[in-house]
Subunit: 351 residues, 2 copies
Amino acid sequence: MKLNITVLPGDGIGPEVTAQAVKSLKAIASEFGHNFRFKYALMGAEAIDATGSPLPKETLALCKSSDAILFGAIGDPKYDNDPSAKIRPEQGLLELRKSLGLFANIRPVKAYDNLIDKSPLKRENIEGTDISIYRELTGGIYFGEKKLSEDGNTASDLCEYSRMEISRIAHLAFKAAQSRKKKVTLVDKANVLESSRLWRKVVTEIGETYPDVNLEFLFVDNAAMQLILNPKQFDVILTENMFGDIISDEASVIGGSIGLLASASIGKKYALFEPIHGSFPQAKNKDIANPIASILSAAMLLEHFGLVKEAKIIQKAVEKSMELAITTPDLNTSNIQVTTTNVGDFIEDYI
Amino acid sequence: MKLNITVLPGDGIGPEVTAQAVKSLKAIASEFGHNFRFKYALMGAEAIDATGSPLPKETLALCKSSDAILFGAIGDPKYDNDPSAKIRPEQGLLELRKSLGLFANIRPVKAYDNLIDKSPLKRENIEGTDISIYRELTGGIYFGEKKLSEDGNTASDLCEYSRMEISRIAHLAFKAAQSRKKKVTLVDKANVLESSRLWRKVVTEIGETYPDVNLEFLFVDNAAMQLILNPKQFDVILTENMFGDIISDEASVIGGSIGLLASASIGKKYALFEPIHGSFPQAKNKDIANPIASILSAAMLLEHFGLVKEAKIIQKAVEKSMELAITTPDLNTSNIQVTTTNVGDFIEDYI
Ligand SMILES: CC(C)[C@H](C(=O)O)[C@@H](O)C(=O)O
Ligand SMILES: CC(C)[C@H](C(=O)O)[C@@H](O)C(=O)O
């Protein structure tokens, strides 16, 4: 298969972890005779420094001309602590999601047998957990109108949803549940929010057209609790943008490290693959960041194009690395130092 | 001391747990020669059934004429699953909070030594946790304009904050930190939301006037993760309404049961005390609901009026009940059935 892949390493640890993912994709290509071409472009704080914009026009154009995008991470503390900055790295990612119509962010959450004891949660509570989170990614409070009053004393953000925005991701979630444990849990705050009531209404209607799938509802506050108390109750979680952001980062504790969680952002035309972790600036250039989330994002990319066997090999390589404790310091308690590059090299060799 | 207390038992398990809290307040009154008068009023789904309104005028008037309010719980599944219901129980609680100006909701989160093993989290991760969450309660997306388009295809909620709303609760949080571990963590999403950037700006300014308190920032997604990974890092958490709702329910897992978490909602003039758990309709009238959160809310009421010794006795009684495993089924794994009433009776006797 021929694939043009745009690589956006981004900020912080983004470049380091993405480099490992590219290595495993190259190994897959040479092993299976695929033709993967990689082009690199600037995004985030790096792009602001170089061009003044967090998403330069050339970057967007390159993304639109490619089959898939592999993205690293975004964000820099120098913007976080400056509430009045006009240009910020995150705008680049949000604009990219919006411009490419990447409305569904899919985040698998699993408890890996070999890592279960690294989790802050007790083994018996998480063993066997296998959740797929469907987070709406181009609507809600992230993209609604933002206002700051002239005197700077009042600020607002609008959370808005349309039936169309809800229904297209709901269909994906129900379809996913059909080939899983046949359960969708809608997470909302329908007892308070008008937008959540629309979610509940539309998803209920759509649910009726998937009679083999069980639909349940959970208020977001309760969901945040249930996710820790009893994660095994979940199969597919469907939710809006902001709740999905919170819930999926929270869910990362189940696997023991946020450095393990990959995600796919899917639209009608384009697809982007990224770890759910952030730019983790404290770890930048130290060769200690966990590349697994990025490598598993590459596996999701392969799956997306039907290269299921290839994706499985990467997943197996990842599991092997855990079994042999070839893991970065976030997961490794032994004395032997394993670097980001070491993990990437191991996976490459295994493939 | 003479106190007029309005009791709003509300829905579901509200009446059962509130009854136990009233029992302990009565025991305190007779032990210390205080004069506590209790008046009861309707609220929530019960009030809708009886009067058509979730917060009848008489209820609000009674609250305004009393020194403090003891509230049970609100919510009924028959409204949750009807997204087009015009009148819903939760409106009563929101209207009450707004009408009484209860802008600060204070939620203490503690790991109790005798219950630590009931938590889904490992002992070493939570031992010694002692957090106080300051949640803004009368602003943000809960109270911003709500819209549903005429064709019913678009819905929105506005999240709005003013400098005044942020600063009054920020001052409370910094003051609380001064008599604790001197750390405030602001939880926001300043990399995306305009309202969060205003929070960050105002809280930073106010922080400078409390040089003895250390101010830190955390994005809400990261906070949801850190709260489970390492809850001991927190002292006072300050946050807006919606994030506070999610984060504090999530934090309940630290103590092993949401049935333990009390809260105080404070304004300039009025104060209301309530468990953070919901109406838990499945447990209604079964005498199995945990009354501790409601009883500890009564203790917070006493503290609020400077009755520190009295509050301490209730807290001690609660700890004793845990030590002796006189706890409801959510916390009790032994064969002996302990009811809601049993727990209330034990605490009453202890006092
Ligand atoms: C960087 C930030 C804007 C982003 C988000 O909130 O969506 C990130 O947290 C994520 O989850 O991908
Ligand atoms: C019942 C509901 C409206 C309420 C809230 O969201 O504030 C509850 O969850 C709480 O936390 O007190």
